[in-house]
């Protein structure tokens, strides 16, 4: 198993090369002086044209493209992501400040939607054709069809503005320090971000469960005389779990991308908002680095899903 995990992680490396190359290629295409990505804008402004040219030479910006790419990659690996053109703050600092918020938000959303989605999906499959199942089906459809930000706006209107149960947005208030005080800020954005995934997981878990329950081994399990809950959960759900995990992995990019929109709606100070602002300001270096960060998050997540699948399903060949 350890070998398999190692193999999967090593397998990510070529992909990382391709993606960083692509991103550097796009960065190179963008208008603007590459020097501006590399240093503090204020210092840059004081330089004369000759000094600038000298800098280009020292930074190797006049080198061929491939050489520049590898130099850039080397910088990345050392943790030097360059500067944000608009604020002059190092990109690494911006990310360090905003990443925890995003991880907190998407992590919570992921947890809620996976748990809730599987439970509702399995319940729907077991009670197939009942009123409850039909209601869930329609809700699932609404969940995948409603624009997330619109759902967020409705939630803000109902729960924050009219009922005043929860705050309108933001991550926390300087005056609040308690865990539950902070949780209040998390509930709305996390549920809104998770709604589409919850609905997706639910629909998929239901289909997958129905599919499993038609299998021969479910009949075998019944023929053993074990209680129905064991047939459903220990035999049916356990097998349906694998495709559900695969689906969650498959939908993770959507969840991460959703954070860009949801963070904007709820003024959540995360990477998504940084990204959004950078795109608006044509702050290319920041855009590319944050995009790279998102891709790496997705890659890691899908590797984890691969490993989880191997743990869950003994039929997955570990050595292929």
């Amino acid at each position: 198993m350890l070998k398999y995990i190692l193999k999967k992680i090593l397998g990510m490396i070529p992909m990382l090369f391709i993606i960083t190359f692509l991103i550097y290629f796009l960065l190179d295409l963008t208008p603007g002086d590459a020097v501006s990505h590399l240093m503090d804008p204020e210092a840059l402004a004081r330089l004369s044209a000759e000094q600038l040219e000298a800098l280009r030479e020292t930074y190797g910006l006049n080198d061929p493209f491939v050489v520049r790419y590898f130099k850039w990659l080397l910088q990345l690996v050392q943790g030097n992501f360059g500067y944000s053109v608009s604020s002059g703050v190092p990109v690494s600092q911006i990310i360090a400040e905003s990443l925890p918020a995003t991880l907190e938000l998407s992590g919570t959303a992921l947890l809620i939607s996976t748990l809730l989605g599987s439970i509702l999906g399995v319940a729907g499959a077991i009670k197939k054709g009942t009123i409850g199942d039909n209601v869930l089906t329609v809700f699932g459809m609404i969940g995948v069809s409603i624009p997330q930000f619109f759902f967020g706006m409705v939630c803000i209107l109902v729960f924050a503005l009219n009922l005043e149960w929860l705050p309108v947005g933001g991550r926390t208030d300087p005056s609040v320090v308690s865990f539950f005080g902070r949780l209040k800020y998390l509930i709305l954005p996390a549920s809104v971000l998770g709604i589409s995934l919850t609905a997706g997981v639910m629909r998929y878990a239901r289909t997958s469960m129905l599919d499993t329950m038609n299998k021969e081994y479910i009949r075998t399990a019944r023929s053993k005389g074990i209680p129905e809950w064991r047939v459903n959960l220990i035999h049916g759900f356990r097998v349906s779990l694998t495709p559900v995990v695969v689906l969650v992995g498959f939908r993770l990019p959507t969840l991460i991308a959703g954070s860009v929109v949801i963070e904007t709606v709820f003024q959540w100070p995360g990477v998504g908002q940084v990204f959004n602002a950078a795109v608006r300001a044509s702050n290319y270096n920041l855009v590319m680095i944050v995009a790279l960060l998102f891709v790496i998050m997705v890659l890691f997540a899908s590797t984890i899903v691969d490993i989880l699948t191997a743990i869950l399903d003994p039929r997955v060949k570990l050595d292929s």
């Binding site: 299998k215 021969e216 081994y217 009949r219 075998t220 399990a221 019944r222 023929s223 053993k224 005389g225 074990i226 209680p227 129905e228 047939v231 035999h235 356990r238 097998v239 694998t242 869950l312 399903d313 003994p314 039929r315």
Partner: protein
């Protein structure tokens, strides 16, 4: 007592209701399953063999139900139990399944849960019915696997079904079915998915179990050859009816129904060479939604006459336990082989 009946089925009717239609899958059948005997149910696919088994186990799909008739299990300590009145997955039915009546399915490739080890699945069965520790149960599972002739059982017990070959899987299935010493073993085409050489081994194993544990076996098959080898009693089914039944000797020696006769003629005999006269049955089984009005076999029958189209023939007792549902059975029997 020699011929002790364990399960008796009387005038059973089971209908299916899929796709907004009503399919009379079983249309009034009666049979007795006896202790220490093998009852073979023969017929083409779609004739209702498997539905009979599912009805006895109450493992029918959702959109189907037992309409009429009774299935009675004569238990030793609890008296007669009316299976047809029990709730499908209710407590009583569950206590019968596995403990008193166990089942082996057609395809061992799909009948074992792929995500649990073989040992786990046997242990689950034992612990569902008996109050034993995990360790004890596992020891018993190990012994069962060994008894079923699985090599290296100590290693095999912790392996997953996909690591087993087809024949080994079916042995594991039988081990699981036998784990609580059931009184009745229902085997639904247990060898259809296996190689011929493996088939013989599996049947040998089942025959051994029957003799050792005095288990009643209901064997469902479409292979007349298997019937000749194993059966004590035979019931031939066609389109949801038993058209001929009786002891194996009676039915095989002097078949009274043209269908049985045709089935017997359609098996090639080994060693007789390529020139032997094999007579396939002409035509195909009718559409269950568009049945013939009288005898279901009439359109394909060589002996058919006008009277056959009027009504399904009654049951005729032709001596001993032999029963035939054909109005011209005397001519059929007189025709010889």
């Amino acid at each position: 007592m020699q011929d002790q009946t364990v399960i008796s089925v009387k005038n059973l009717k089971t209908y299916f209701y899929t796709n907004q239609r009503c399919n009379k899958a079983i249309n009034g059948i009666s049979m007795d399953i006896k202790r220490g005997k093998t009852l073979c149910i023969v017929g083409e696919s779609g004739c209702g063999k498997s539905v009979t088994a599912s009805s006895i186990m109450q493992l029918l799909p959702k959109l189907s139900r037992i309409e009429e008739g009774e299935i009675i299990y004569h238990s030793e300590d609890r008296g007669d139990i009316k299976i047809h009145e029990l709730e499908r997955n209710g407590k009583e039915m569950r206590s019968l399944r596995g403990q008193d009546i166990a089942m082996i399915f057609q395809d061992p490739m799909t009948a074992l849960n792929p995500v649990y080890t073989v040992g786990w699945q046997i242990v689950e069965m034992i612990r569902a019915h008996e109050n034993v520790s995990k360790k004890e149960a596992k020891a018993r599972a190990l012994k069962l696997l060994k008894d079923m002739g699985i090599p290296y059982p100590e290693k095999r017990i912790d392996e997953y079904p996909h690591q087993f070959s087809g024949g080994m899987r079916q042995r594991a299935m039988i081990a699981m079915a036998m784990s609580c010493n059931p009184k009745v073993l229902i085997a639904d085409e247990p060898t259809t998915a296996l190689d011929v050489t493996i088939q013989a081994q599996i049947f040998e194993l089942m025959d051994k179990l029957k003799k050792e544990y005095d288990t009643a076996i209901m064997l469902i098959t479409h292979d007349m050859g298997v019937v000749c080898e194993l059966a004590d009693d035979v019931a031939v089914m066609y389109m949801g009816n038993i058209i001929e039944s009786g002891s194996a000797r009676e039915v095989l020696k002097s078949p009274g129904h043209p269908y049985t006769k045709a089935l017997l003629k359609s098996i090639p005999i080994l060693g007789k060479g390529a020139n032997q006269d094999i007579n396939p049955i002409k035509g195909s089984t009718p559409d269950p939604f568009n049945r013939p009005t009288g005898c279901q076999f009439a359109p394909r029958c060589d002996y058919a006459c006008d009277k056959c189209n009027e009504a399904m023939p009654e049951e005729n007792q032709v001596g001993g336990t032999h029963m035939v549902r054909c109005i011209r059975f005397q001519e059929v029997m007189a025709d010889g082989k």
